[in-house]
């Protein structure tokens, strides 16, 4: 969008707040509305905006497809790993209470980690999907 000067500048201004807001939603989900999924989508949307304005090839330099692809897997594995750890610590699968001495703290910790896993996977998948759609030329 070379000739859209205003758009480019406004987008540059907006993208940092969008990403910050995504982090806020990620970590504030325990107290208000929001959580990993919403945060992931908003985070991904930030990159989508960047790719829309500056072109997908430029965006790929920022979010390299190989790294994004790894992130897609990392989120799920993080989630699953919490389950396996709680299993090894003597609880049943995904029983966060055993993660810390105090069950409530354990729950809190577990929820924090799995929400992070959700957020990572969702953001990475959203970016991947958009990039694959957008970089496919018309026939």
């Amino acid at each position: 969008m070379r000739h859209h000067l205003i758009l480019r500048i406004v987008a540059k201004l907006l993208i940092p707040p969008i990403l910050l807001f995504a982090l806020y939603v990620q970590f504030h989900g325990d107290f208000g509305p929001g959580g990993g999924f919403q945060a992931g989508v908003i985070f991904g949307a930030g990159f989508i905006l960047y790719a829309l304005i500056f072109g997908v090839e430029t965006a790929k330099k920022v979010a390299q497809p190989e790294i994004v692809r790894v992130m897609v897997a990392v989120g799920v594995l993080l989630y699953g790993a919490v389950g396996l750890v709680s299993l090894l610590l003597g609880g049943s699968y995904l029983d966060y209470s055993v993660l810390a001495h105090d069950p409530v703290r354990g729950q809190h910790l577990g929820i924090f980690i799995i929400e992070l896993g959700v957020g990572i996977t969702v953001a990475a998948v959203m970016i991947t999907i958009f990039f694959t759609f957008a970089s496919r030329g018309r026939s």
């Binding site: 107290f31 208000g32 509305p33 999924f37 999907i129 694959t132 759609f133 496919r136 026939s139």
Partner: protein, 117 residues
């Protein structure tokens, strides 16, 4: 006034059927996906309608409030929305591929091409 308590559900059913109709009658594949989304979103509204409690408020516990709406349907629908997006993304990816190999996204033209093939 008893029927008023069901009015919401009936409108939601109308929405669902509009989406369902679009899915099964429209020949355009993108339109089918949109119809599918319509159908699913209306089912979500059905679920959320049943979670509402008269005079209740959002289930974020706070000392000021005593009555909360039912949180469980919300949880289910959060998951279902995600499933819906995933389906949409896959369906659209398929549409793109179909367009690339057939040159069209109209169902009857695709059938025609397959027959003559």
């Amino acid at each position: 006034m008893a029927w008023l308590g069901l009015y919401n559900y009936w409108v939601v059913i109308f929405l669902m059927m509009a989406g369902f109709y679009a899915v099964i009658t429209r020949g355009n594949l993108v339109k089918k996906i949109v119809g599918l989304n319509l159908f699913q979103t209306s089912v979500f509204i059905l679920y959320i309608s049943m979670s509402k409690v008269q005079g209740g408020t959002a289930p974020i516990v706070d000392n000021e409030f005593a009555i909360y709406s039912n949180p469980l349907p919300h949880v289910l629908i959060l998951t279902a929305i995600v499933v819906g997006v995933a389906t949409t993304a896959l369906g659209l990816a398929l549409v793109v591929r179909i367009r690339e190999s057939y040159g069209t996204v109209e169902e009857d033209e695709i059938h025609h091409l397959d027959k003559s093939f």
